[in-house]
């Protein structure tokens, strides 16, 4: 396949940035999207140009490092991570636009690399269970009904890639935050901090500059791990419940 990519190039946070067009010949349908960028980068280096910077690491769809907007969609046309998107999803002769996540909460560092440390700060403000090491009760001491465990698990699969934010017209981080709240609040272990957790996390989310949620649902459509919309509904419920109890 022969592909043309138009890639967002931005040398640093203060640069204006622009789309630059590159031809990539002989693309194999078995390549991942990132491997296609690897091939292009090898050529750019040999041509004396700077390769395109993009985040990636495990390339198995689980670390959450990678993530670019492809043809206007976070992670591209399939509901998966950019590293698990394969060139067989495109056709010979296609022109593909590649841009970084765009959101006030995720400033661009260079090219397609953005700063997602705001997500870490949301977690730091309450996305945990206070369980000091070394004196935990036996794991079987607290049974967890399977339905609750499954609900917790379904939400715990969030990889923190940020696609939800990138896809949201408001740049909201509700899906990310709601996943963690749903995971921990569903478990008996998470009950003592149930209210403080949701209040703190929502407050940090707002402070970090993420927009509000207007139930558009684009986040859910772009989430590679299928975090459900019900988690946002749950977050709102948990938030109101916590406000009432405060």
């Amino acid at each position: 396949m022969n592909i043309t990519v138009r890639v967002w190039r931005q040398s640093g946070p203060d640069d204006r940035g622009s789309l630059v067009s590159y031809d990539v010949p002989d693309v194999s349908p078995d390549m991942s999207f990132l491997e296609m960028l690897d091939v292009l980068n090898e050529r750019l280096i040999l041509d004396g140009e700077e390769p395109i910077a993009f985040d990636h690491d495990c390339r198995e769809g689980i670390c959450g490092s990678c993530g670019v907007v492809i043809n206007g969609q976070a992670h591209g046309p399939q509901q998966t991570t950019s590293c698990q998107l394969h060139m067989r999803s495109f056709s010979d002769g296609d022109t593909i636009d590649v841009e970084p996540w765009r959101s006030r909460g995720f400033p661009v560092i260079k090219d397609l690399v953005v700063d997602r440390s705001a997500f870490d700060r949301i977690i730091q403000s309450g996305g945990f269970i206070t369980a000091p090491t070394g004196a935990a009760p036996d794991a079987h001491a607290t049974p967890v009904p399977k339905a609750d465990a499954d609900l917790a698990f379904e939400n715990a699969t969030c990889i923190g890639c940020g696609a939800c934010v990138a896809a949201c017209p408001n740049g909201s981080a509700m899906l990310f935050t709601s996943a963690k709240v749903a995971h921990l609040n569903a478990l008996p272990q998470g009950q003592p901090e149930r209210e403080s957790r949701v209040l703190e996390m929502v407050s940090t989310m707002d402070d970090e500059g993420f927009g509000g949620c207007t139930n558009t649902g684009e986040c859910v459509n772009s989430c590679p791990k299928g975090i459900p919309f019900a988690s946002i509904v749950n977050l709102n419920k948990e938030y109101l419940r916590a406000l009432r109890k405060r």
Partner: protein
Amino acid sequence: MLEYTVGSDISDTAAPTGPIENRWDTRKREAKLVNPANRRKHRVIIVGTGLAGGAAGATLAEQGYHVVQFCFQDSPRRAHSVAAQGGINAAKNYRNDGDSIYRLFYDTVKGGDFRARESNVYRLAQVSVQIIDQCVAQGVPFAREYGGLLDNRSFGGVQVSRTFYARGQTGQQLLLGAYQALSRQIDAGNVELHARTEMLDLIVVDGKARGIVARDLVTGAVQTHLADAVVLATGGYGNVFYLSTNAKGSNATAIWRAHKRGAYLANPCFTQIHPTCIPRSGEHQSKLTLMSESLRNDGRIWVPARAGDTRPPAQIPEDERDYYLERIYPSFGNLVPRDIASRQAKNVCDEGRGVGPGGLGVYLDFAEALSRLGRPAVEAKYGNLFDMYAQITAENPYETPMRIYPAIHYTMGGLWVDYDLQSTIPGLFVIGEANFSDHGANRLGASALMQGLADGYFVLPATLSHYLAGGGFSPVSPDDPAVVSAEESVSARLDKLLSINGSRTVDSFHRELGTLLWDHCGMARNASGLQKALDRIPELREEFWNDVRVPGTGQQLNQSLEKANRVADFLEFGELMALDALVRTESCGGHFREESQTPEGEALRDDEHFSHVSAWEYGSSGPVLHREALAFDYVHPTQRSYA
């Protein structure tokens, strides 16, 4: 070829004696403590935020130490432990199927082909029980039964169900547990986190590890960080092979630089080849993807009985299939340990019976499980793995068997540590995959997560406190010659890499090195192949330093520079790895020397000459080999049999 000399023998002086079941308790009881009010005065550097590093940072900070933590990723949550799929072992005996601490200990020593330390392995089995309690308390959503109790499954090399799991994302869930515990400490101000920052050298002052030189990967600034102790939790070196199941960023730089500063490197030739990876599809391939070993619980492995049979799998009748693991190893069947499953896959492919493009693959078939359990049950257990396979290969594994082939996965070698997890440099501790200590020559499935968390949550906090309680930490001046020279050498090296401006990319060198090592130091090794690798690596290294092209500058985010710096270390590390493989003329576990095999083609150990750890010292005139003798008082070495 690299000349080496033999130095004096070494031993582990930190391990207590006495009955094995009491040793860890004895060590903890005898360890000195630091008064809680004095703990905050101690700074501890931890490099890496995976299961070992994240757990250690969270625990030490919780105890009151001031932790300075580093990771090269943008967030601690992205460490490669996140990608582990299958599960974590613990001797809970919740299934009442005969499991015990002793049995987990026994399975691990045997599975490691008698090249691990008994004391360490026993401790690992003991601590495993506590790990599950800790993780459940943190809210790790392990799989559960309808009654609300934890579920288990079994893994290769064992005959009990002791593996706890969270669908196929166990590593992710355990890592998030550690990351969240660490996040709590960051918020409390007890951990100072430096993300997107990479350690490039170790600072040794008066013989003790006192800091690191690190590069801020966003601004390019090279900085020194000082502390009372340094902990390396930087994972394995499998990416020396270029293609592996490791994350792209995984590297050997931290341990290699520590090695050059005096830490011994143990058993670098012990690399685990994982039997269930998706076969490579072409030259563009950047990495390999693992399919969890847990698939072997229900998947049956087979190839056509006759060489050259290229019919699609559905058209090959039962009696023309060879379920070779079930045939050769009837009592363990598809659940033989990884080294054995990998080698047999290679053997059938060498016989021309491999399947898929290039003949480098075997079938992992779920047809029988699907008809026995039904699709919903198979989906519940393995759904995400099936989806991942379908995504990568564009084949539907519910309808046609998966194709798998072995790939480089985990490295059992690493920096030498004693029972306290301290390296040969006082104050330098090494935990998780970065050390060599617990797996011997082959790692059993679901044991990596166990070791990472055991080291981080439970072992290191006790032994590091003992070291810090010993005192003697006069402040190190930033102008100390050792600090200044380490920083200068890092900067000079980066400048050098940027100035070569040659004609080859970093990846082209990395690929060539990787191919060389896979061909000659991969699933099977022999003396002449290893000699070839040892002849070629120094030439390749020279070409690299004369002809590599690294664009851009050092004062910016420069991913080519990061890569070049790591590959330069792989080009040195790979040579030691091949040398270690050449010197160890026996076969054991993941190290299969073709010259040493049984008539049935199994690995043949040579206990008389090689029942030791090979600990390599970096010498100015070539590597120096020190041997640590291994003693087996409880699990007596026998020819491993899984028949």
